[in-house]
Amino acid sequence: MQKSLHINADKCTGCLQCEMACSFENYGIFNTAQSRIKVFDFHHTGKKVPYTCTQCDEAWCLHACPVEAIQIDAASGAKVVREDICVGCKVCTIACPFGTINYVQETGKVQKCDLCDGNPACADACPTGAITYVDANWTGLDKMREWADKVGNQAAGA
């Protein structure tokens, strides 16, 4: 079974545990500047939204790469950057419609979410369930359950 990172922004508190977990997993350091997941804080509405790569099936970044440095991990389905092949041309950063692959000036390579070999540290660290790693075919299961409950209540009340 393949799994997907699933985000429920309503549950995000803006604590940035996910960003620290990401940088620690990949670089052994607590550093939000090196995180591949980013939490956006919309002050005017009070909304906090974590955002990262959704691992497109037809990945724009992968198709755009001229040296085939972005490859598919067979087990997790993640599109993974091979740093030994990447030449830092940044074409993938232009191709990605979502902005979730970015250049790192310190290494001269790009970086993106690789699902931590199928055990994403961000989902593990999230204290509220705003980021979960769930069955790729059933990312809507929780929402369906919530609505099913409402419908059920209406039926019971009628």
Binding site: Q17, T32, A33, H43, H44, K47, K48, P127
Partner: protein, 615 residues
């Protein structure tokens, strides 16, 4: 070892910034943040200094756990000599700024001297420079933060700054970061303003990587997070209701100071409670509360984010105040509400918003309003003097006063003195509900005996966050004690005060202590910093910090008579509620507290105590 290992020393007089290695001997003895900053401060600054003079210094300091994955590990402390009190000032804040400073590679920033013109400090990792603040001087905090980000074309900068009240010398000005988190008390913002320092803007990209034992640290952090999640207060009460969960609870036990501490219960407490914030309004069908919010690294998320009713008289035709903004937290809801008898929730949110926007401590402000309202009802202050009729309960007066205080206009200049100076000026010093010039927070110190003793002995003036005995006396954490009992309270308070100092020094939030003891903190600090930070050592560090602060105050001229509560709490009994008839038992508790602390009958630290603590 979790510390960045260096500090930034900024001389505002000469305009220089230089890097210094952190004194690691002191770091071992005082840990960080509140402890280490106060060590530097008390070593470098004469205790007799005028707080608003060029000789005073001001320090921003993180702790070793700041910027790590330890839950709530985003705290920092501002230490200086406070202009409201003349005592050591030590104001703690959350948000994201502290972690950003650590990510830039600095444990602390020490400012000395005074700039000849308004400036701000801009830190990008190792690079630090003072820049001209002409374009932000005279602006609010909510204007300053985006202006700096725009100027440097960097939306990821974090800013700690003052608003107009700090520039104008309001004696209880706060320093605000990330729009609505504040180093709130004792007037630290006025010190910043007196030095022509508007802001510290930080962008850090280096991170915190020098954890002593990363594997053990991640394990300890994970276990400790589970403890927070499983606790009723930190896992459910605070995330759901915020600190406002207390409003109805404290009112029911008859310890909600009302109308300048004339009463101990507020008949409209439910109208300004957490439950009221979550209830849809009649006007627009929307709840006041929008969401909760965490500070950096925090897995509790007690912060409140709310929106004011757009049709409310305070914000009609003022769309700049229609967005989501911070609050109400319990302390502000009490100080702006019950303390003045005001029950209009929207008005409280507006007053709180102005406090955030221009950097004012809502506790001291609200308590000063309470004193002004009492003086008004006595006929000592008039409508003409204040600019508005100001009886208890007037939301209009509250909202008028907050704006003229923020702008230092007219009577607002007198408001900016705080209740002690203002009531003295009008011949009624007994009406200031304060200790050492700093006003009480939201728990009645005559009903809840332990917290009353805590107010009297707090090194920064009246404060609930130095030793939150409410945890024991009301919530039963770690054991339930009777609020009105005086027996055992000196010992209880000392234990809370010492442990709290250690929590603060580590760089974590004191709210974790609803669930954590030092037994939960020690494994995290040990894995991050070194095996020597055992529970026993952390307790000793806490006690050392407490005595260091006390020693500074003694040298500043404070004596036993400054450890007293106002006459009202000693002689006017609680009129209603379960504690009806009770007055403070401070007279009984204070001598015992001094003994428990190892101080003499006058409150001086005995030589053997100094020796034991290595002072």
């Amino acid at each position: 070892m979790a510390w960045a290992g260096k500090l930034l020393r900024v001389n505002l007089t000469t305009g220089t910034c230089k890097s210094e290695p952190l004194n690691m001997t002191w770091a071992k003895d005082y840990l960080g943040s509140r402890g280490l900053a106060t060590k530097y401060f008390t070593e470098e600054v004469d205790a007799k200094v005028d707080p608003l003079s060029v000789e005073n210094k001001i320090i921003w300091s993180t702790g070793p756990l700041t910027g790590t994955m330890a839950s709530t590990g985003g705290r920092f402390t501002v230490v200086t000599k406070g202009p409201l009190t003349g005592a050591i000032a030590c104001s703690n804040s959350g948000g994201y700024w502290g972690a950003e400073l650590k990510f830039a590679g600095w444990d602390m920033v020490i400012f000395e001297g005074k700039s000849p013109k308004p400036v701000y400090l801009y830190i990008q990792d190792d690079k630090a420079e003072l820049l001209d603040a002409d374009y932000i001087w005279g602006k609010t905090i909510w204007e300053t933060e985006p202006a700096i980000k725009t100027k440097h074309q960097d939306p990821l900068i974090r800013v700690s700054s003052i608003g107009r009240s700090g520039e104008n010398g309001v004696l209880y000005s706060a320093i605000v970061n990330d729009l609505h988190r504040a180093a709130g008390r004792s007037g630290v913002g006025a010190v910043m303003g007196s030095k022509n320092l508007k802001a510290i803007a930080v962008r850090g990209t280096k991170g915190v990587g020098n954890i002593k034992d990363p594997k053990a640290f991640m394990h300890a952090v994970k276990e400790a997070k589970k403890v927070l999640a499983g606790n009723a207060v930190t896992g459910q009460g605070l995330p759901t209701y915020g600190t406002q969960v207390l409003m109805n609870v404290i009112n029911e036990v008859g310890a909600l100071p009302t109308r300048n501490h004339q009463d101990v219960q507020f008949e409209s407490a439910k109208d300004i409670s957490a439950e009221a914030m979550a209830t849809p309004r009649a006007s627009d069908g929307k709840a006041h509360l929008v969401t909760n919010q965490a500070c950096f690294g925090c897995t509790i998320a007690c912060g409140r984010i709310s929106k004011i009713d757009e049709t409310h008289f305070t914000v009609q035709n003022r769309p700049q105040y229609w967005g989501a903004n911070g609050g109400l937290e319990y302390e502000a809801a009490w100080a702006l509400g019950a303390a003045n008898g005001v029950k209009d929730l929207e008005a409280l949110q507006f007053a709180n918003l102005i406090c955030n926007e221009d950097g004012i401590d809502p506790i001291t402000f609200g308590a000063t309003v309470g004193a002004v309202m009492e003086l008004y009802e006595m006929g000592v202050l008039t409508k003409e003097q204040i600019g508005i009729a100001a009886p208890f309960g007037s939301a209009e007066a509250l909202c008028h006063l907050v704006e003229i205080t923020a702008h230092s206009e007219g009577f607002g200049k007198e408001m900016g003195l705080g209740s002690k100076r203002l009531t003295e000026k009008y011949g009624h010093p007994d009406l200031s509900m304060s200790v050492k010039g700093q006003e009480f927070p939201a728990y009645d110190g005559r009903v809840i005996q332990g917290i009353g003793l805590g107010y009297a002995t707090s090194n920064r003036g009246a404060c609930h966050l130095r030793g939150y005995t409410i945890a024991s006396e009301i919530l039963g954490i770690p054991v339930k004690t009777e609020p009105t009992d005086t027996d055992g309270k000196p010992e209880l308070l000392k234990a809370f005060q010492d442990a709290t100092a250690a929590f603060d020094a580590a760089g974590i939030c004191v709210f974790t202590s609803f669930a954590w003891t030092l037994n939960d903190v020690a494994p995290q600090v040990q894995a991050a910093c070194g095996e020597e930070f055992t529970v026993e050592n952390l307790t000793l560090i806490g006690e050392r910090i407490w005595n260091m602060e006390k020693d500074f105050n003694l040298r500043a001229g404070f004596t036993r008579k400054d450890d007293m509560l106002p006459k009202r709490l000693m002689t006017e009994a609680a009129k209603t509620g379960p504690a009806k008839g009770v007055v403070s038992g401070l007279d009984k508790m204070l001598p015992i507290y001094y003994q428990v602390r190892g101080w003499d009958a006058e409150g001086n630290i005995k030589p053997e105590t100094r020796k034991r603590l290595g002072l």
